[in-house]
Amino acid sequence: MDFQNRNNTANKFVCPSDRQLALRAKLKAGWSSSKTSEPLRPEEQEAIISVIRRNEEIEVAERQRVGRLVERVEKIKQHAVERGPNCCRLCGDTFGILRPQRILCEDCRQSVCTKCSVDINIRYHTSERSREIWLCRICSETREMWKKSGAWFFKGLPKYDMPRSASATPIPNPGPGSMAGDTRAVQSCHATPTRPARVKKLTIRVNDSSSSSSGHSEPEDEVDTGVGIGVGVVGGGMAKGIASTRLQREDSFRLRAYGSIRSFIDGGERKLSNSFFFNRQQSQRPSECPEYDSVSMSKLRRESSFLRRGSVSSSWSISDSSGSGSNNSGNSQTQSQYQQHQQQLQQHCRDPLLGWLEIAISYREAFHSLDCTMVRARDLPAMDAAGLADPYCKLNIITPEAHTKYTRWQRTKTVHKTRNPEFNETLQFVGVEPEELGNSLIYVALFDDDKYGHDFLGAAKVCLSTVHSTSQYRISVPLGVEDQYSNAAEMAQNWPNGKMLLSLCYNTKRRALVVNVKQCINLMAMDNNGSSDPFVKIQLKPDAHKNKKHKTSVKWRTLNPIYNEEFYFEASPHDLNKEMLILTVWDKDLGKSNDFLGSLQLGAQSKGERLQQWLDCIRLPDHFHEKWHCLAPDNPAH
């Protein structure tokens, strides 16, 4: 406050005397009187509330304005180079005799060059004086922000709302089918996933699965499909929307079956786990008839078969409890169940099968060790143009609480260039208690080995309640589609070069391939500040139309850049069958050669999801096909 005591000799405004205070108390005047104020009337309250509401509108606009000021200053700070005392703080130019002159900023005392500094003329309007100071651009903008936001008065920045990011992914145009359009819209909504977010999402789904609530898991399934983990089937020609719907329906059936079976397991019926195992196989093949009656009819048929399975299990329980069951009758009982299971599968299988897996399991009670021998697999999906694959297995134990027992998945070696691999490899799980066998599962996920990404081939679950100490349990199981366990197995793999989200479209009007580089995540850090300045080079090889190479812009100081940049390559659909799209990610280094970060190749010679996206782009022109791909560490020479 600018109040000053200039006139001490004035007697008029001294403290009141006792008589004056007594007089004020008698007359109920002055500040010491506490008059009971009457409450406000309703119309008065309403008038005050309307003023408060008008003020809130102004304050909302003011918060947004301050947010824009803050964002402007933050952007200028991000562009600062900060390369040492002999270089400009903002642009990095070195000072010297023939170089730009050094100017010291008044506020931050850092050296900047002449073009990165501002001459400020501070004028005082009441006293007609002024002074000049030099500021760097950061401090000049910070001063303006503090003036315009009122922070100079309140000694701190008021509340503000940062403006919405302008680099949000635009929603692509929906196709003719609303189903495909909805799927793409879902993909666009989640086009910027990060690794912790995906892990968290999977955790939520596991909890939903354990609570047997299938209603909540369906939207998450669609979200998960949109992230880019597509179905590994190649050559089937299925649209993404149909596959997504099938995934939803299958997960819904599986979760319901799992919930109903868990009620039996919780009752302590150990022998009913056989039915749980067989019913799991059936639930992986729900009917795809679009009519509602057929779906409900199929459901009724499945429930009746489940009841029949229960009777068989109870029969086995009686024979087991009598004690007179010999080993031979036990084997015949198992064989009988196996044959019935085969018949059931032949009746209910209408989906294309992902293959078969032969597995042998034995348990050594003395060592608390579970030995799983991956014998072989048959009729796996083809992953490349030659109709072959490079499969390997990943294993884990699923507990009754629907968790993976081990964080680290065990994995076999890769068998190359075959769709019928002979693994013949035994993997050992130690620390397995005998009581756990009754309620646990062995989960096996098969993947296709590739340097650009490991594609899902199939998955199987084997119940452990039939494993005994004396003999080896050998079974051949069909391979099913993806679920949360296969996603967890895939994410357990280490992929150091990061991933890229790519969108391809063949434009028939322009007769050109449209390549939309959307974003990358988890790139390698190449600079000393723990970050990189990545950009992407795009090239088509061999090129019949002599297209030139393209480059994206450089995104400074980030390992997760968002580009959303489109490039056109003139080509014909016939030429695309012989060409290869090569994308390489580089770290921009000023004054030095750029550092290589990763590469990606798509074309007719690719495998897995790369091949599928390439073929989808040719077969379904004028539609954008978007997928996540892993980047490879080797640099293709070009």
Binding site: N7, V14, C15, S37, I48, I58, R109, R143, W152
Partner: protein, 220 residues
């Protein structure tokens, strides 16, 4: 004091293209002319009928001052005692105060010291105050002379104006002067403490405030 050469550029409240935003508050006894003063400045209108203000009200006006667009949010308070708890809640956000009394009312002039105590209690330390004696056009009923008002303003260390909302005397000059004083205070505060802007920490607040000299002439 009046500067007629300035370009007249005023916009409505919906305009977001301004440089500074200042919040001003008009306080004083009831019926000294606070609402008429605000309506004369914001809407250039005057009405003789007296309607007591209910609680609080505000108007927004954007002025162009020294090559800067300044948006003023001017709060009008009720002078009656029963609205005191409502009006003092808005002292905190005000950067400038217009302390008004009536030259034809002795009680309103005697209450100026009490209003100064209110400002010290409820507002920020660096708020600026201007003392205004309204209704200077009623010379035949004047009981407070210009010299007495000037003397009180000098004693309080604030600027002083005599105005008339009815005749539009010195109304614009009061607001222009208050804007100039706040602008100078803004430049001085950034010079006095460069660590506020040099550090650039968002939301950083100083814990220790410089202690001003206490006024030895207060009533307590």
């Amino acid at each position: 004091m009046a500067s007629g050469g300035d370009p007249k550029w005023q916009k409505d409240a919906a305009d977001q293209n301004f440089d500074y935003m200042f919040k001003l508050l008009i306080i004083g006894n009831s019926s000294v002319g606070k609402t008429s003063f605000l309506f004369r400045y914001a809407d250039d209108s005057f009405t003789s009928a007296f309607v007591s203000t209910v609680g609080i009200d505000f108007k927004v006006k954007t002025v162009f001052r020294h090559d800067k667009r300044v948006k003023l949010q001017i709060w009008d308070t009720a002078g009656q005692e029963r609205y005191r708890t409502i009006t003092t809640a808005y002292y905190r956000g005000a950067m400038g105060f217009i302390l008004m009394y009536d030259v034809t009312n002795e009680d309103s002039f005697n209450s100026v010291q009490d209003w100064v105590t209110q400002i010290k209690t409820y507002s920020w330390d660096n708020a600026q105050v201007i003392l205004v004696g309204n209704k200077c056009d009623m010379e035949d009923q004047r009981v407070i002379s210009f010299e007495r008002g000037r003397q009180l303003a000098d004693q309080l260390g604030v600027e002083f104006f005599e105005t008339s909302a009815k005749e539009n005397v010195n109304v614009k000059a009061v607001f222009e002067r208050l804007v100039d004083i706040i602008c100078d205070k803004m430049s001085e505060s950034l010079d006095a403490d460069p660590t506020l802007v040099g550090g650039g920490q968002k939301g950083q607040r100083l814990t220790d405030q410089p202690q001003g000299t206490p006024n030895a002439n207060c009533n307590c």
